[in-house]
């Protein structure tokens, strides 16, 4: 009787197990078929474009299309998830040469290896929206193309993973293209996520940039705005070079630490720009500033970096109302005078606030002892925060007037940034990681219960 009951339980458990495992596989298989667009018919997109009249809206039927396509009249091309444009030729999959073209909502696969691009735009006021681009070269190139919109696209690298970043192409690449808006794009594993050169008045908003060389790389883009972007696991989050009057605000650059030259934000030869309310967390260097003058760096959260902020030949910048928390070295300066550093919060500073205005009456000078020591002998990093190191640092007062100094440090953090969880990027392609783990753990649990129940020691 008892053994029969056990048998039933075992069968039940095994069945449950099978159901769960098969469920798991159907989920995976389902998402795989979604990826592979039905391969029955292959359309010639160029022919469809040629037959259309200027001003037409083309709605592409589901299926596979072949590139390259040249669009030289005003068209609005709409696709769907089930439309795939493949291109094996060295030309771009789509070349847009007419003003006002809009292309949106389908998949593009650029298979040609090397200096090719999925989309090349050489006309003004072009819109590229909701495209899912996989490329073995570049993603989207804009050349002499003004006032365009690149919105909500996804661009990722298609070739093998173990390739040097230098051999890849850029995700979105602008040259001599002014007044463009690049918004809500998701770019992964490219050379530079967004590369901007010789273009003015750009708006780079709310993009996600992962695993590339530089998340955003700007050369000579005066008067542009870089707002609300997220960069993770790049060599450098934002590389901002040779610009004036640029606004960099509300961006998050996290976990840029894998490379020996990694930074959250790097400013080189930047003038008269504002860097505000960004979060730089867990990078090798949080903010690196070289040969830059007259910039405002304010209200940023600089958290858990190896070096919080580093100045090299940077003068007359204003650094105020930033939070420096849990950085190994808070600030480091070489040949950088006349920077105004005031009213920042330093978690390691000991302040004294007599008149209760939230500002310490004693300045905070950053002791360079540890930094100078490890720059000569890097192995001494082993002694970080050891009692001996703390003691020696406190003994060290050499040349104190030249230390980097905050004249009036804040007593409390100005921004409540710690409690705010950083935007996460864990969502995976097919099934979410949590569902996957849940399925695995539940099957394991059921199996183990069954084993204990069935073969466990019983007293009878």
């Amino acid at each position: 009787m008892r053994s029969k009951h056990r048998m039933n339980v075992l069968i039940f458990v095994v069945l449950i197990h099978f159901i769960l495992v098969s469920l798991l596989f159907t989920v995976v298989a389902f998402s795989a078929t979604e990826e592979e667009v039905s391969s029955k018919q292959i359309f010639d997109l160029q022919q469809i474009v040629d037959e259309a009249q200027p001003g037409d809206t083309l709605v592409l039927a589901e299926g596979n299309y072949l590139g390259p396509v040249v669009i030289n009249k005003v068209l609005h091309i709409q696709g769907s998830n089930q439309v795939l444009l493949t291109n094996d030729s060295p030309e771009a999959a789509i070349m847009i040469q007419a003003e006002g073209v809009v292309v949106e909502g389908f998949n593009i696969r650029q298979n040609y290896v090397n200096e090719s691009a999925a989309i090349v735009v050489t006309a003004d006021e072009v819109g590229l929206k909701d495209l899912n681009i996989q490329t073995k070269g570049y993603g989207i190139l804009l050349r002499d193309a003004d006032r365009g919109t690149v919105l909500h696209n996804s661009i990722s690298w298609l070739r093998t993973k173990n390739i040097k970043t230098g051999e890849k192409g850029n995700g979105i690449d602008l040259y001599n293209s002014h007044n463009n808006t690049i918004e809500q794009n998701k770019i992964q594993n490219m050379r530079d996520g967004i590369y901007l050169e010789n273009s003015r008045q750009l708006k780079i908003l709310n993009n996600q940039l992962m695993g590339s060389r530089y998340g955003i790389h700007c050369m000579y883009i005066d008067g542009s705005e870089i707002i609300g972007n997220l960069g993770e696991y790049n060599i450098t989050g934002a590389m901002i070079m040779g610009v004036r009057d640029v606004l960099v605000s509300n961006n998050s650059f996290l976990k840029q630490s894998k490379n020996v030259n990694a930074q959250g934000i790097l400013l080189y030869s930047v003038q008269n720009s504002v860097i505000e309310q960004n979060i730089v967390e867990g990078n090798r260097v949080g903010i690196y500033i070289e040969s830059s003058q007259e910039n405002q760096i304010r209200e940023n959260s600089i958290l858990r970096n190896f070096i919080g902020i580093q100045f090299v030949h940077a003068e007359s910048n204003k650094i105020h109302d930033n939070d420096f928390v849990s950085n190994v070295i808070e600030a480091e300066a070489t040949d950088s005078d006349a920077n105004e550093i005031e009213q920042n919060y330093w978690d390691s500073a000991q302040g004294l606030d007599l008149n209760k205005d939230g500002i310490s009456e004693i300045p905070y000078a950053i002791n360079p002892f540890y930094q100078e020591l490890i720059s000569k002998t890097p192995a001494f990093q082993l002694f970080f925060q050891s009692t001996g190191m703390t003691f020696l640092s406190s003994m060290y007062t050499n040349n104190q007037e030249s230390w980097t100094k905050d004249s009036s440090p804040l007593m409390k953090m100005s921004i409540d940034s710690i409690s705010k969880p950083p935007p996460s990027s864990t969502e995976k392609g097919n099934i979410s990681e949590t569902t996957f783990m849940l399925l695995i753990t539940s099957t394991l649990l059921i199996t183990s219960v069954a084993i204990i129940f069935y073969s466990g020691v019983s007293k009878s």
């Binding site: 060389r213 050369m219 005066d222 590389m239 070079m241 004036r244 030259n261």
Partner: protein, 179 residues
């Protein structure tokens, strides 16, 4: 047989030792994973635009653009330079700065927009100019009189010739703020 190889090894050893005795400034290969430009901090790509200075105390300084190397020389002088190298545009071979032939045009795209390309022999430089239909051939000496203007400024000057009026404001600012 064994004797011979011993002798050969010995010879090689002596050869190497003798080699070490002389001061030689050899260029290092570019490692894209770790090499950044000493001046502008950008990753040095293993391409024909990379340049290199070997200092007298044996340090290899790498640059992503010959313009950055020029900037380093302006800042630090040339007294400490053991040897300076540029690369041939066609086969990326390291060549001495003083022996190379250069081609400049503001439309050539180089990493820091200085628009200068280097060649091992003058003939290939001439071929390149012919191919591109533009470009000014310069020797290393002539390069010292070069303006070292980045094409950012050049572009704005083109604009001056007749484009949107609202661009003029940018242009004026650029002229003050060259790096």
């Amino acid at each position: 047989m064994k004797k011979w190889s011993m002798a050969f090894a010995l010879m090689l050893g002596i050869f190497l030792l003798v080699g070490c005795g002389q001061k030689k400034y050899t260029p290092q290969a570019i490692n894209e994973d770790v090499d950044v430009c000493v001046i502008c901090n950008m990753q040095v790509k293993d391409d024909a635009f990379a340049t290199q200075i070997v200092t007298k105390d044996g340090k290899n300084l790498k640059f992503d653009d010959i313009g950055c190397m020029n900037e380093w020389k302006q800042k630090n002088g040339v007294d400490h330079i053991g040897m300076d190298y540029v690369r041939d545009y066609n086969d990326k071979e390291w060549i001495q700065f003083s022996k190379a032939t250069y081609v400049y045009d503001s439309s050539f795209r180089t990493p820091m927009a200085y628009g200068i390309i280097s060649f091992k022999v003058k003939k290939s430089a001439e071929d390149f100019v012919h191919e591109q239909g533009t470009g000014q051939i310069l020797s290393a000496d002539e390069l010292s009189n070069h303006t070292w203007q980045q094409s950012k400024d050049m572009m704005d000057m083109h604009m001056e010739e007749g484009m949107d009026g609202d661009m003029h404001e940018d242009m004026n600012m650029d002229h003050n703020g060259t790096n």
